[in-house]
């Protein structure tokens, strides 16, 4: 099967709707088919990977922990909109330190998250075969 480039675009915050958790489920399923998968976070979607989420009070599963497993699934391209972070008073240091182990570099841990401008994100999107928006 030929590999296609899939991008999952996340534009809504973690809880309140099912979009974020459903997106993550689909991403994990796609990973099983060994496609080239990347994720993008913009608008309120940037909240999905903010560090220190606590769900006890709302009685929901804290699936933000699952983002740490993405490296194991060979998903290591997480693009975050610089403008969306800034509009919300956030910076890269507010995000979870998501990493992956680089098989080609003696399993060294490397960051998976990359903050990019909307123009850069646009260019990355135009390289994709499939772009799914959540």
């Amino acid at each position: 099967m030929a590999t296609k480039k899939f991008m999952y675009l996340n534009r809504r915050s973690s809880f309140g709707t099912v979009y974020a958790i459903e997106s993550l489920e689909v991403v994990l399923i796609a990973a099983a088919f060994e496609q080239d998968v990347s994720l993008a976070f913009m608008d309120d979607g940037v909240y999905q990977i903010v560090e220190g989420q606590e769900t006890d009070g709302i009685g929901m599963k804290n699936f933000s922990k699952t983002f740490h497993a993405l490296g194991d699934y060979d998903i290591n391209k997480l693009y975050v909109s610089k403008e969306s972070l800034e509009e919300r008073g956030l910076s890269e240091s507010d995000l979870m330190p998501l990493v992956y182990e680089d098989e080609d570099d003696d399993w060294e841990e490397k960051p998976s998250v990359k903050v990019v401008t909307n123009d850069e994100l646009k260019a990355i999107m135009s390289e994709q075969d499939v772009c799914l928006s959540f």
Binding site: E25, L28, A69
Partner: protein
């Protein structure tokens, strides 16, 4: 709905409420599947429970194999070994014994 040791399970035998899990349920599930639980089984079951606690998902077999290889060595981190322990699949059967949901993407 079917029950094992008083805990509800779904039509495929997975626990409905993951908090119900205990070792007796695990042993009963194994007995029903004609599996004799050994220390090697428990190593994998405990690993699956720790993985779920940390990441909130049941790992795909590929990911489980890789993670076990890293933790316990290559002689255990391969699908032949894991299938010898869990003939119905380390993902499907192993996760069920460990009280985890069915792995995402597992058909």
């Amino acid at each position: 709905m079917a029950q094992i040791c008083g805990a509800e399970v779904d039509e495929e035998g997975f626990l409905v409420d993951l908090k119900d899990w205990n070792e007796d349920i695990c042993k009963q599930m194994a007995q029903d599947d004609d599996v004799d639980l050994t220390d090697e089984h428990w190593d994998v079951i405990n690993f699956l429970r720790e993985y779920f606690e940390e990441y909130q998902i049941a790992p795909a077999v590929r990911v489980l194999t890789k993670a076990i290889a890293k933790r316990m060595g290559k002689d255990k981190g391969n699908s032949k070994y894991l299938y010898s322990l869990f003939p119905y699949g380390p993902g499907k059967q192993g996760c069920r014994f460990a009280g985890l949901p069915k792995p995402t993407g597992c058909i």
